[in-house]
């Protein structure tokens, strides 16, 4: 069982000390379809909980990626610039978007663990 936590907007965050790696869920990449472009934030930018942190474009449309918690961007996945299809191929691994230094760890408490997220998805159907 991973320590990945999920938002209702279908982003995930995985913590390592105060650094959180953020991506979109497998469900989200499936809904998006073939990803053809990813716009990543600048390093050092402050991202706000539930506000836009990145943009992901599929063949069909542009969608925002919201940050599940607030923090400062410390790293972005540059490989997505040349190979955006990684978001589809490995959404929970190589397809990560950004790493942030989390401002307030208590914001993590409102997120869902894997089991709760799977239940949340089941209710959506």
């Amino acid at each position: 069982m991973s320590d990945r936590l999920y938002s209702k907007d279908h982003e995930w965050i995985e913590m390592d000390a105060d650094i959180g790696t953020i991506g979109v869920s497998d469900h989200a990449q499936e809904q998006l379809g073939d990803v053809v472009f990813v716009e990543l934030p600048e390093i050092g930018r402050a991202v706000v909980q539930n506000e836009e942190a990145a943009v992901v474009e599929s063949v069909k449309a542009a969608s925002e990626v919201y940050s599940p918690v607030s923090g400062e961007v410390v790293e972005v996945n540059e490989t997505l610039t040349d190979d955006p299809a990684q978001v589809n191929a490995d959404p929970h691994g190589e397809g990560w978007f950004i790493r942030i230094r989390v401002d307030d760890m208590s914001q993590l408490e409102g997120l869902m663990n894997e089991e709760a997220y799977q239940e949340f998805l089941a209710e959506l159907d």
Binding site: G33, V36, F37, E39, V59, K60, A61, A62, T81
Partner: protein, 375 residues
């Protein structure tokens, strides 16, 4: 509670679901936007082998002259609504045209085929109710209009499409681009034309709804054929530089602004006699202030419908009407209208995307070479 009106379904609805399609509402119908392969693979399938599309939501109409009139009478009547030469359309030949309004704007675009004793029309799904009402209002005294509601329409598109269909109907290979004929298959009368909306060689097959699934299942047995949804249909037509009604053309654009002057034959240009003829004749003689162009944005970010187009001094000179990712081109592509002085291929422009300017170049259409077979 669901307050949405019930969606209509095509005769292939069950098959789409069995094939794992993601169904979406489109022009009042439940339609497959993609199958499990995904839009990019379906796009490539059509460019390299053969893609099978359900386009049964489109309107199919049969037009015959009333009071024992001839085909020419029906053709002459239809010419009062469209700028193409229909009277001189030979039996078994097909032509692309538009319904125009009094201002020269486009009410819909359509295909017209002469079947020898009647005209066969295919109109857009989203416009078919209005188109049929328009024809009934304007042509009822001269023409009998039969809406072929029970018929399905299948597009089989790609370099291997004709070979695949020839396994069922060998004679189909004799058709040239924009020709049509009828054949019997499995007890059904098929109306087949060598045409499509992907820029590839291919066929469009009108089949009675009850026989559609059998025919499609037979075609899908061919390893060269796979189902393709509306998502790839859109990216294929955009690469082919083809207009999508309601986006690249509508009542505010004329066929000349849209770069469709090729679809207005010489006799009609001089004679007129269609709605908006004065406007269109004037534009043919004196040019237009804006033109539809192809656009190639730099980088990888798709620029979509509605994006403002600016010249290099920052003046707004138009807007994108279709934009997305061209899987065969391998990058973003778009179409839009610009002022005529910026319509020359090679002109450098900027497209507005999320508050920033993306450099773009006016590019000749189509973005990919056409595969049409004019045998």
């Amino acid at each position: 509670m669901n307050s949405e009106p019930e969606l209509l379904t095509t005769p292939l609805d069950g098959l789409h679901r069995e094939l794992g399609a993601r169904m979406v509402p489109f022009a009042g119908y439940a339609m497959p936007v993609q199958y499990p392969a995904g839009i990019i693979k379906e796009h490539e399938q059509t460019r390299h082998a053969a893609g099978l599309f359900d386009v049964s939501h489109m309107g199919q109409v049969r037009l015959t002259a009333r009071h024992g009139g001839s085909l020419e009478d029906a053709a002459r009547a239809l010419e009062s609504l469209v700028p193409a030469d229909i009277v001189n359309l030979k039996p078994g030949r097909q032509r692309y045209t538009q319904f125009t309004n009094a201002a020269g704007g486009i009410l819909d675009d359509l295909m017209v085929t002469s079947m020898g004793d009647h005209l066969y029309l295919v109109v857009n799904a989203g416009c078919k109710v209005e188109d049929i009402a328009h024809m009934r209002a304007e042509l009822a005294d001269r023409c009998e209009l039969e809406v072929l509601e029970e018929r399905a329409l299948i597009a089989l598109q790609g370099p291997r499409a004709v070979a695949a269909f020839a396994k069922l109907v060998p004679d189909c290979a004799a058709l040239s681009f924009m020709q049509a004929a009828t054949w019997d298959f499995d007890g059904d009368r098929l109306l087949v034309s060598r045409s499509g909306y992907t820029g590839e060689d291919g066929l469009e097959i009108s089949v009675p709804g009850k026989g559609a699934e059998t025919l499609v299942r037979r075609l899908l047995e061919d390893p060269d054929v796979a189902p393709v949804g509306l998502g790839a249909r859109d990216s294929l037509r955009l690469e082919a530089g083809l207009c999508l009604y309601g986006h690249d053309i509508d009542t505010t654009t004329t066929p000349i602004e849209a770069g469709l002057a090729w679809s207005i034959q010489k006799r009609r240009r001089s004679e007129g006699g269609f709605p908006g003829a004065e406007v269109i004749q004037d534009q043919l003689a004196n040019g237009t202030s804006r033109r539809r162009v192809g656009l190639r944005p730099e980088g990888r970010a798709p620029v979509r419908e509605g994006a403002v187009i600016r010249d290099l001094s920052g003046n707004a000179i138009g807007a994108v009407t279709s934009g997305g990712f061209g899987a065969t081109v391998g990058g973003p592509i778009a179409m839009g209208y610009v002022t005529s002085e910026h319509a020359q291929a090679g002109t450098a422009l900027e497209l507005e995307l999320r508050g920033k300017g993306v450099p773009a170049t006016v590019t000749a259409l189509p973005f990919v070479p056409q595969g049409y077979q004019r045998t």
